[in-house]
């Protein structure tokens, strides 16, 4: 029997239709990733399951009980579903331990000592036992989110809903939260995760729902959706490229800042350090050669870097456009023993291919990684 059963769900905000005729069956233990563009109703759908948004039509049955029915004990049904929010929503007036034990002691009448023991066990599994007496405000976003997950787990829910759990986090903290969610997939919980982390969605989910046009436009296994999308909107969503743009107008540009931005860009789209590093090296080496040999001293410098990353193909393309005299750094023979040519050597080794052209005073060099 399906643990979540949605039929004909409809939700409008005024004249705006967000969801229309959504139907879904979720089996126990499934881990479902919900993806889609902004404003496609993914979050609203999740909030409807918790009845935080009141549907305009349709029915939602959670574990055999219809939450949308008139007179349904919504508070009771909600106990079997944990919800994790983008903004953590920890109770700011309570410390970490109090945040965790509040619901079980009040609602499940769990003895205090037992609740504290359980809370401490959960905190240690997410590595935050040492923070048990901290107030939420002093914790980082990643820590707060891990605690918010624990707070939900204290109620022993059968279902966990995640509403963009890493969207409000610094890229450096995304990993720690995703690791905790990944850990939960081994607990036989039923999970629905609204996320923009495609790499994560592919890894953890058993089914992917792609939301578009007021509902579930497409669904399938991660392989079906990410590797071989069929329907047109899915194809364009999955294959869309991610862009990064940077301009350099002076010899003494801020290299560190640029490298940092590239790193943030890469992390945002789930690239590993092993993948980000070559991009950074490639940019740095090319710029050094260009500034050294492509421009004479005092000449105005105008270089634009465009990085395009295709999530589907996991392929990166870097395009350098520099205005000035014609100069192709890779035209001449590279002398492997000459230290001055080391940068060029690295460029050719790191990249799979390159193309060069010179049009209207613009050098255009494209690398494919």
């Amino acid at each position: 029997m399906s643990i979540i059963k949605v039929r004909g769900l409809k939700k409008n905000f005024g004249a705006l239709t967000v969801l229309d005729g959504v139907g879904l069956d979720v089996e126990e233990g499934e881990c479902i990733a919900i993806i889609g563009g902004s404003g496609c109703g993914k979050s609203v759908f999740l909030r409807c399951l918790e009845l935080l948004e009141k549907p305009d039509a349709g029915s939602i049955v959670i574990d055999g009980r219809e939450i949308t029915a008139a007179g349904a004990d919504v508070d009771l049904i909600r106990r079997s579903m944990g919800m994790v929010y983008q903004r953590f929503n920890l109770f700011q007036h309570l410390n970490v331990l109090e945040n965790l034990i509040l619901a079980p002691t009040m609602l499940l009448k769990m003895p205090r000592a037992e609740a504290i023991t359980k809370a401490e066990e959960l905190l240690s599994t997410v590595g935050l036992l040492s923070k048990k007496f901290s107030m939420p405000a002093v914790l980082s976003g990643g820590q707060q989110q891990r605690i918010a997950i624990c707070r939900s787990l204290m109620m022993e829910p059968k279902i966990m809903l995640f509403d963009e759990p890493t969207s409000a986090l610094d890229p450096t903290m995304v990993g720690e939260v995703l690791a905790v969610i990944r850990m939960l997939t081994k607990r036989n919980l039923t999970m629905l995760i609204v996320t923009h982390e495609m790499k994560f969605a592919r890894e953890v989910s058993s089914r992917v729902l792609f939301f578009a046009e007021h509902g579930i436009y497409d669904q399938g296994t991660p392989e079906e959706i990410f590797d071989a999308p069929q329907k047109p909107l899915t194809v364009s969503f999955i294959n869309r490229l991610k862009y990064f743009h940077y301009e350099i107008t002076e010899r003494e540009f801020d290299l560190i800042a640029m490298q940092n931005e590239i790193e943030l860009f890469g992390e945002k789209y789930g690239l590993s350090t092993m993948e980000i590093n070559p991009i950074q090296v490639c940019c740095e080496e090319f710029l050094m050669v260009m500034l050294e040999r492509g421009y004479a001293a005092g000449e105005p410098i105008e270089i634009a870097i465009d990085i395009a990353y295709s999530e589907a193909e996991r392929r990166t393309e870097i395009v350098f456009e520099s205005r000035g005299r014609e100069f192709n750094p890779l035209a001449a023979e590279i002398d492997e023993d000459n230290l001055d040519d080391l940068g060029l050597l690295m460029l050719t080794r790191l990249t799979q291919a390159h193309e060069y052209e010179y049009v209207d005073g613009l050098n255009r060099m494209k690398f494919i990684l």
């Binding site: 009771l76 909600r78 007036h93």
Partner: protein
């Protein structure tokens, strides 16, 4: 100096008069604070309600009361609205200051409610708490905490504002001090003493609030 002090404080049971004046001031303040806070919460409820009419009425009430001197309101009620009603001046004063405090408290609560993060209440609801439980356990403690410093000033201000009740024949602390100053012909010293009494009441209020500052700890290092 000691003669003057004797005249002001002791002679002819003067201290008793001062004490009863103080009593009147405290009585008006305390009752007005009690009724004003309850009424203020109600006004705030209307102000925040989805009902357009209710919220507009509450808004007009708040802006009129907050935008005019409390003495005007007192005179309006005493010489106008309740003239010939047979209500005691003290009752009219309590009504006046309750209405006045209510407007300030309503705005104070509203600001605190708006400062509260609605997401926390939502989180409580999804854990399975009822609307009332979520309010009591999550919203209220935080509203109280946000409102406390401003509420403290409201209380102290209220006590000072009551010093105008002498205009409607009530013998409060200010009135007693004024009378004593005339009687003893020692205005400098008498009024200074009066101010010191008001000052000490204010500090007692601050002290009371400071006592409640200690966080109600439920789980800490000593559990």
């Amino acid at each position: 100096m000691s003669d003057a002090l004797y005249n002001i404080l002791i002679k002819g049971g003067s201290w008793q008069t001062i004490l009863s004046g103080l009593g009147v001031t405290v009585q008006i303040s305390a009752l007005s604070l009690l009724f004003g806070t309850i009424l203020g919460a109600a006004v705030c409820f209307l102000r925040l309600s989805d009902n357009k009419i209710a919220s507009t009425v509450a808004r007009i009430y708040i802006s009129i009361v907050r935008g005019s001197p409390v003495l005007m309101l007192l005179m309006l009620l005493f010489y106008g609205v309740f003239a010939g009603s047979g209500l005691k001046p003290l009752t009219v004063a309590v009504v006046t200051f309750s209405l006045h405090t209510a407007a300030h408290v309503a705005e104070l609560i509203r600001a605190s409610v708006l400062a509260l993060d609605a997401g926390q209440v939502e989180a409580a609801r999804t854990l399975g708490f009822s609307k009332l439980q979520a309010f009591r356990l999550v919203a209220l403690p935080q509203i109280v905490r946000i409102a406390k410093p401003v509420y403290q000033s409201t209380v102290v201000n209220l006590i000072q504002w009551t010093s105008v009740v002498g205009y409607v024949t009530i013998t409060d602390l200010t009135r007693v001090i004024n009378n004593t100053a005339s009687r003893t012909m020692e205005p400098m010293l008498t009024i200074t003493i009066g101010m010191l009494i008001y000052l000490s009441i204010s500090y007692m209020v601050y002290g009371l609030f400071a006592l409640t500052e200690r966080r109600e700890v439920t789980v800490d290092e000593h559990h």
